[in-house]
């Protein structure tokens, strides 16, 4: 599915917009609102104790126990190069499922807080504007305008598989 979305995104066709419609879970990160496809979300849980794993990048916080499964957790703030924030009761772990090399991978993503689930129509979604080379648009599905606010739609598969997302920093600042 992601490949369809990505091709569509690059070409910016109407088909692409259609493929992007659907339900999105929105969450906050810093001052921005982001959205991920609800289909990619396995569950949302409060922040809990995380076992640190050595020799990993700083944004990889470690692993948690999700009902008997060991699930890695990343801090999306750190992944996007934002300053780290204290974890509050609002802080959430969104457990996502993405396509890995050997089947589905569960991965926890720490965000500042989840907002709501939005049903986005094609007319709500716009292609990502060209930010120049400083912003890596390939991680974005597009931008959604809802009630006068802009939500950034993330292609979570790509976000999580990407090694370095520092480019996104520029977009967020």
């Amino acid at each position: 599915m992601s490949s369809i979305l990505v091709t569509g995104n690059e070409q910016g066709t109407a088909v692409a917009a259609d493929a992007r419609t659907g339900k999105y879970l929105t969450f906050q990160l810093g001052n921005e609102e982001f959205g991920v496809r609800v289909l990619k979300v396995r569950e949302i849980m409060g922040i809990q104790e995380i076992t640190a794993v050595p020799q990993t990048p700083t944004h990889v916080k470690g692993v948690i126990n999700l009902r008997g499964k060991v699930v890695p957790v990343i801090d999306l703030r750190l992944k996007f190069g934002l300053p780290p924030a204290e974890y509050t009761p609002r802080t959430c772990i969104i457990v996502t499922q993405t396509e890995g090399e050997s089947g589905l991978i569960l991965m926890g993503v720490i965000v500042d807080g989840v907002s709501e689930v939005l049903n986005l129509a094609a007319s709500d979604i716009e292609d990502t504007p060209d930010f120049g080379e400083e912003v890596a648009v390939q991680y974005l599905l597009g931008m959604a305008k809802v009630k006068g606010k802009v939500k950034i739609l993330l292609d979570i598969d790509r976000v999580l598989s990407a090694q370095d997302l520092n480019h996104l920093k520029t977009l967020l600042q």
Binding site: T51, T56, E101
Partner: protein
């Protein structure tokens, strides 16, 4: 086959006559026609449709040509075509046999499955014998024969297929209440089952390369099977009389065969019954059982709940505790298989190889019913085979040599499994010549593995055979020891978290002892604390642990650290440094040293504290942490948090790497 041969002879005979006939002036038309007619009938009966078609075509030509002069050349051509058709016909079954022989797996599956069906239908037939109207039993027997028929047809085992088909037809009529299953009928059906079983035995012997003769086609049996339905339908009118008779026979057989014979049959069937389950589902079940144990522990140790002291609650909690533990154990046990099947797989190679080497070897097995993890059993096959082969090749002497040494000509190769201290010991031992110390040492020096002046213990010398490069193919047999790829064997075994020990007495034999964990899914671990983190050290690798004193730790060139443990200097790895964790104290005197052994080399881990021993279920960290070294996986600890399991091999390798720099 005899019919096919007959057909073939007839065709050849006719062809000869035609050739002769066309040369002579007198054409014996009627004789040819009658011969051809016989061929057509014979071919049809034999199921050789192409041959029959070809023959009838010639027949038509002949008959149509009666008025005209018969063209000998045309006839000859036609006969050649007929002979070719016959050849293809004969070729087909033989090709089929070959394709079967090429797929022993399918065949052995068939044998296995058919045996189950036979066992089932026998039980059901006996039920049917007591109650001929038990439609469930009847259906079951029908289904079993139907399956056997289908499978046999698929594998082109025509004899079985034919019989099963006939029996199935009879049963089908019985199902449709067209005939009653009499005691006589059951006899015949049981005889049919026996016949199928003889075939299965033959097939299995074929698979095991044992000589065996294919059961002859039992015409009598086929007639009897056919007889059941015809007899019944012929005497359909005086049905009541026959019914009475049948009932009489039934009661007599019932009293003759005591009911007590039935239960053992049923239980035997139950034992062999198995369900194929997706391993992912099984793993999930194990996960859930583990989670339940943790959840249960959390509930039980809940402080608020702890204040309630009613006996009823305590009793119920204890009950819950017992059940969850039992559930977890059962879930784990589902992964276990008896080692016997693995041992039995060695029988054929032992037989083949001992012939090849011209040695007499008797294979003995012990502890066949010891169970071990399915994954381990699968992974163990290759190393076991390797060691068996080594033993036969190098360990066991030729009969003449054995006789010269006063041993019996027939050698004994023993495969033995036993439980010991939470591990499984698998022993491969022979009464051959044992490992030759001198030759191993010579070889090791030649290969540059050891210096010539070194003095080594027996154990160290035997362990040399595990060194990679010890036996690089060339003239391994010069070394009486077992050089062939033992490093690979050891690699396999250590992947299974097992160890190999060699015991050898010159002239008396050698034995390789594999020490394997019960399961790959669980390890006994020592939970250690470093700063806020907890790690699990596999217990099997731990030799000792102690709090260091002032004279224990020494620095080497201000960089590497060594600890003096029982007179030997061992490298020290400070875990907090390796993992970048802030320790409680950097002073070794406030910490604990854990001495671990990896590949017969020891080293020390410096940790903050020992928390306790725990049996943990190993979970993969997944591809996200593929690049992390020094971790073997994760495990859910008693409080539901994840603990990381140390990969001591990698830690040690990295450690020695550091020291070298």
């Amino acid at each position: 086959m005899s019919q096919a041969t007959e057909l073939r002879e007839r065709i050849d005979d006719l062809a000869l006559r035609i050739v002769l006939g066309s040369q002579e002036s007198g054409v014996n038309m009627p004789a040819w026609v009658s011969a051809l007619e016989t061929i057509v009938a014979c071919a049809l009966q034999n199921g050789a449709a192409p041959v029959a078609a070809q023959a009838s075509r010639i027949l038509e030509d002949l008959k149509g040509d009666t008025g005209k002069a018969v063209d000998g050349a045309v006839l000859q051509e036609a006969m050649t075509a007929l002979q070719q058709a016959m050849e293809t016909q004969e070729g087909a079954p033989s090709a089929a046999t070959q394709s079967l022989a090429q797929d022993p797996e399918l065949l052995s599956d068939f044998v296995l499955e058919s045996r189950e069906h036979l066992a089932n239908l026998e039980t059901q037939l006996l039920i049917l014998e007591r109650d001929p109207h038990d439609s469930e039993a009847l259906h079951s027997v029908f289904r079993s024969f139907h399956t056997i028929k289908g499978l046999a047809g698929f594998l082109e085992l025509w004899e079985i297929q034919k019989l099963a088909h006939d029996v199935e037809s009879v049963l089908d009529r019985a199902r449709n209440s067209e005939l009653t299953v009499t005691a006589a009928a059951i006899d015949v059906i049981l005889a049919s089952a026996d016949y199928v079983r003889r075939w299965l035995n033959h097939l299995e012997s074929g698979l095991q390369k044992r000589p065996s003769e294919a059961p002859a086609r039992d015409e009598d049996l086929l007639c009897r099977v056919a007889g059941i339905s015809s007899a019944e339908s012929a005497s359909a009118a005086p049905h009541t009389e026959l019914g009475k008779l049948a009932a009489a026979v039934e009661t007599s057989t019932e009293s003759a065969a005591p009911a007590s014979e039935l239960p053992p049959k049923t239980t035997r069937l139950r034992e062999t019954m198995a369900v194929k389950v997706n391993t992912a589902k099984l793993d999930y079940l194990v996960d859930m059982a583990g989670e339940m144990v943790i959840a249960q522990a959390l509930v039980r140790h809940d402080p608020e709940l702890g204040q309630i002291k009613t006996p009823r609650l305590q009793r119920n909690l204890a009950q819950l505790n017992r059940i969850t533990a039992e559930l977890q154990r059962t879930a784990m046990a589902m992964r276990l298989v008896p080692i016997g099947s693995l041992f039995r797989k060695m029988a054929r190679p032992v037989r083949d190889l001992s012939r090849q080497f011209g040695k007499t070897v008797e294979l003995k097995t012990e502890g066949d019913d010891i169970e071990l993890d399915r994954t381990i059993a699968e992974e163990l096959g290759d190393p076991l085979m390797h060691m068996v082969r080594n033993s036969l090749d190098h360990g066991i002497e030729s009969p003449a040599e054995r006789k010269a040494h006063g041993k019996s000509e027939s050698a004994v190769l023993l495969l033995k499994a036993q439980h010991q201290a939470g591990q499984i010991l698998v022993e491969i031992s022979d009464d051959g010549r044992g490992l030759n110390r001198e030759k191993i040492v010579a070889k090791a020096i030649e290969k540059g593995l050891i210096a010539s002046g070194e003095t080594l213990s027996d154990n160290e010398i035997y362990n040399l055979v595990f060194r990679p490069g010890f036996s690089t193919a060339s003239q391994v047999t010069n070394v009486s020891g077992r050089g062939v790829g033992m490093d690979v064997v050891q690699l396999h075994i250590s992947k299974l978290r097992g160890r190999i020990e060699i015991r050898s007495t010159p002239g008396q034999g050698a034995s390789f002892v594999l020490k394997l964990p019960l399961t790959l899914a669980i390890i006994d671990g020592l939970v250690v604390g470093v700063g806020k983190e907890r790690y699990i050290v596999p217990l099997f690798a731990i030799r000792e642990m102690f709090r260091p004193r002032e004279q224990t730790i020494w620095t080497v060139q201000e960089r590497a650290e060594m600890a003096l443990v029982r007179g030997s200097l061992l490298p020290v790895l400070r875990l907090y440094r390796k993992f970048g964790v802030k320790p409680r104290s950097e002073d070794p005197l406030q910490s604990v040293l854990v001495v671990a052994e990896v590949e017969s080399q020891r080293f020390c881990l410096l940790v903050d504290e020992l928390i306790g021993k725990q049996e943990v279920v190993i979970k993969s960290l997944g591809e996200t942490f593929r690049d992390v070294t020094g971790l073997a996986g994760g495990a859910i600890l008693g409080d539901g948090r994840v603990g990381l399991i140390l990969d001591l091999d990698r830690l040690f390798m990295d450690k020695t790497g550091d020291a070298g720099r």
